[in-house]
Symmetry: D3
Subunit: 237 residues, 6 copies
């Protein structure tokens, strides 16, 4: 039995709210239960310096948590002088996931930065962030098309993500903080609307895992991400 | 005539929403029109190092803006390695304002940090932050009293703040971003429930100002802060 | 009675010595009693990057204290990796004060940096710095005019500053370190030769202050700054 | 056909050389073809601060590349002021992999840091580092046992790692730099001597991947890691 | 002929002024021509952490230049986040020179930091700093003895320094900035009152130098330092 | 008697191995006994920014130690955020030594960076680095000439370095770590193939030194460096 009484394949209540950041070109407040992430897409006129003159654009992401998003206060990264290793890992993952479904030449020599700021954290912040960031990016591209900045939609597909784990109850989906901190194995999956795998990351915590564990988690993730992508579609319908 | 059609002494719609940060000991989402600030108070077991062994506590604040709180994206301060001068000025001001109404010995050897994170910025973020931070601090102290961590309430009075300015229309209260960026003089006032002045900061932007300007702005601020404190009282009633 | 035996409206002995930095385009050693600040103006060929191509210049200031300017040694800011919040607040204030009396288009696309280095600190370093920096800036502009780099003098007026406070003895002017650290209210005033207010900053320390306190301090400041500007005039005569 | 003429399941020539760092408690120079990593284990008397008083130790890793390990020179991270996101990701991965086979309470309140410095980089540096770091750690623990610092060997199993990828030639093992930079999918596998999975990380580069791709890569990795562990066993025999 | 018309063995006018920093335990303003360095000694209650519990003290130095000490403005090191390599080399040299004549156990578990801040720079700042720092340190030790903090004087001897160089005119002493920037060889000598060598640093700039050059410069330095030590003696007489 | 049983004028076994870094334009692994330094020269297309447009190039060096090159582990400089003062002193010295024998205009507007990474440290790392860096630079210039990037060899002469010291046994050459940490005086000499002095740095540690000590050390250094340069010549023959 999961501490939350959820079935192994049961995600927390999920919602996507578009247009929450008045000044951003695209934005989305995504909630996976008590995990709340504000995603805001910003269009920048120039690509990053290393991409100049190559006729294509870039999509990147930044990730942060408000100091009191968590059960106990976390020190602000601007005080410690640099993003932590964990923060950098997460923002690299979000960026790669978004670029996997973006046709960068269609963006022209521009950059979109998607800021994912965790307002409240109860596990699964990076997967919620990816799932919401797709909507913010979508709306940013729509904004650009409505102003004829670009002609075609650079998005080639949906992308969403969910965490899975192996707990005492066996393989489960969408762990909250309590479950996550006691899971024997922790995994994150990023999958496209077409079912293609973008990222599989599975890490032994208290014990090694088997190929069967990995398969079981991947099946759970496929089903969960299918639902998330249905919700993305409903949100932009 | 003000660009927003408001009367010179008319503030934007203001709201205070308590308890928005599930894990914080006290929290408040304050809105002054399109300026939205999330204030979260965190209790820490120890005072800052320089205060150890003196039998009293400390209240401090940190302030930040989400990168896309603003009309154009602002670089994240954790990337630039340090809080900017503006950020530091503001967080020092919030901390002083809260300490002006807190009896620090009643807090014991502890620290409360109030994080003020601007979700959306349309002028007046520091004054909204002070006004909302008071409620977050109030609720943190209530939380502490309900758990018998402290006996008496360390808060001695209310405190709130508002910006004023001298525009083409003359002295006005609660400037939004557009008005603020064209004001000839910019001022911030912090006043207690008892009417005592805590901070007066008035700065010439496009032109010097007169003693009459200062008096007029102070009168506007007194009236506006009176209303803010009524709203704080209603919020905790 | 003030600890220094001075009358409430009595400033410490003040002196301005021009031309003390052999290599600077303008310089001034200003003394307010035991507070000594070396102000040096440096002409730079280019404006700051964000102002390029706009046909006007910029005046900015940097402020620092020698480690042993103070009663006990202060850590060097180059060791801690960044200017403190206090340092940044002060250098922003000095810069704003000087710009309030400078016609920036007359400067062309250039920048003047006024370095204010405190050799000895006994309270009131920022107000001494502003008062002396005006002379350094004046001499820098003269240097530029004598070389036909600019045609007209960009300075529109004098500017000077003084601190005031509310002590047990009531409102007083030009606090030294001892008085400053026990004052109930601390204020800084920046006023032009024409009597226009540039900055009013008043902060409750041990107790809130009243509008009457503010007025009394402002009157003291007006008189004191009047004398400082007379001395500036004598210095350049 | 692979550019290197290797069969899909053919690793590059691998060697492990123990005892190469005269002053370290354990060390190993590991070569996967032209990728050379020097692994050195250092015993420290104290665990990291956050683990003090809990009766167990810690194993961590640091990773860096010499500036000219690579085809073109890379800027030294001490000049840029902090390890990059990539560096942090890798050193976190190495540390987790080693801890997965270490019984931390058997180490006592001590820490072992394994420095993995890449002398020459031709792809697969992180997997070579993990495979060699195990030997350095093994020798460090032997050193400790020979001096009766610890009684039992904290190592519970072997651990090694290899990269796989999906190239034009299909799934392949142990990519060199040229193959790696053109692979459609990039993966890293960390597996124990007992066959337990420690980490699976698979990332789409030019195209998404399928479950079949993942399975094929995992099979290749199992075989390759089996050989690496045989070589570790031979090295310590 | 030297550009300054000085004879090869002729130093610039030198002066030492004690007691210039009101709050420091010892201080000296030293001038070598247009090079002016303010040296201030600060007593600290504790030795550096790595020396605790060893029954002896430490003497160290910090060195900095005011931004406009030089012909063109130099960026403030607190802005760039760290002391430059040149600054660190110089402050290590000053510290070593002072420790060479200090009996550290006589100081007890304390530290003296001598801040050497260059107010004006015309070549030879490090040698002027060493020569003046000795006086600041001397006065700090006197201050300590007069308060019975220490019993004996930890100073075992005088120490002073001078620069030499090989110019077109041959070996010369005490180069000013103009001479220094065109010298073929640049050297600094630190010598005690007893004539013992503390530091010899000689660097080829435009051309290599010979043993004869080194001997000639050392002879010049001996004579010059002899005079500097006479002046130190006169200053404390 | 020296602890190592070497005669006062006896260096440790020295070897130079060229071509050790596969991707560098020139490289050399130099060993002075147990001190091993990997020197790699990298050609960069552009000179440093401050040299642009002047028709000549630059040669510079960077120096670092692997964390466990030493008897106890040293913290990685990328973690502490900046190279230490010692590191900067050494890399400045290596760079100056190489430039003393390089005709920079012959290099064109390019830069060569020689990275000197200490794999194992037993005293004398900076002198070994200089001696080996010359070979890496030589091979880099050969590589450039073989590709007709430059026409003439910019190297004007050989350069090598050795440490000397005054120990209980009197003046000795090429101190290992144990001898170095107890020497009364520590010196480094850099000399060209033609016998010209490039750098003489001699520092009193436990006691001042005399002119006779300096001469004796210089004679030892001349002889030792003569042998090193013979070995360089043999290595490139």
């Amino acid at each position: 039995m999961r501490p939350s009484k959820r079935a192994p394949d049961e995600m927390r209540p999920v919602s996507f709210e578009r247009g929450v950041a008045r000044y951003a070109e695209g934005s989305c407040l995504v909630k996976f239960g008590n995990t709340h992430v504000l995603c805001a897409a910003s269009l920048e006129d120039k690509p990053p310096p290393w991409l100049r003159g190559q006729g294509r654009g870039w999509v990147t992401a930044e990730y942060a948590m408000l100091p009191r998003a968590t059960h106990t206060r976390t020190r602000r990264e601007s005080s410690s002088g640099k993003p932590s290793g964990r923060t950098q890992e997460i923002q690299r993952l979000i960026g790669r996931s978004l670029r996997a479904v973006t046709h960068l030449p269609a963006l022209g020599e521009r950059q979109v930065v998607v800021d994912c700021d965790v307002l409240q954290a109860d596990g699964g912040t990076r997967t919620a962030a990816i799932s919401g960031a797709w909507l913010a990016l979508h709306d940013c591209f729509q904004w650009m098309r409505s102003r004829s900045i670009i002609k075609e939609n650079p998005l080639r597909d949906h992308v969403a993500a969910v965490s899975c784990g192996v707990c005492d109850a066996g393989p489960v989906i969408d762990l909250d903080y309590g479950e996550d901190s006691t899971a024997k194995t922790d995994a994150n999956f990023v999958i496209t609307g077409g079912g293609g795998l973008v990222e599989v990351q599975s890490t032994a915590e208290a014990a090694v895992f088997t190929e069967a564990d990995l398969s079981a988690m991947l099946s759970l993730a496929r089903a969960g991400i299918g639902k998330l992508i249905e919700m993305q579609k409903a949100a932009i319908a």
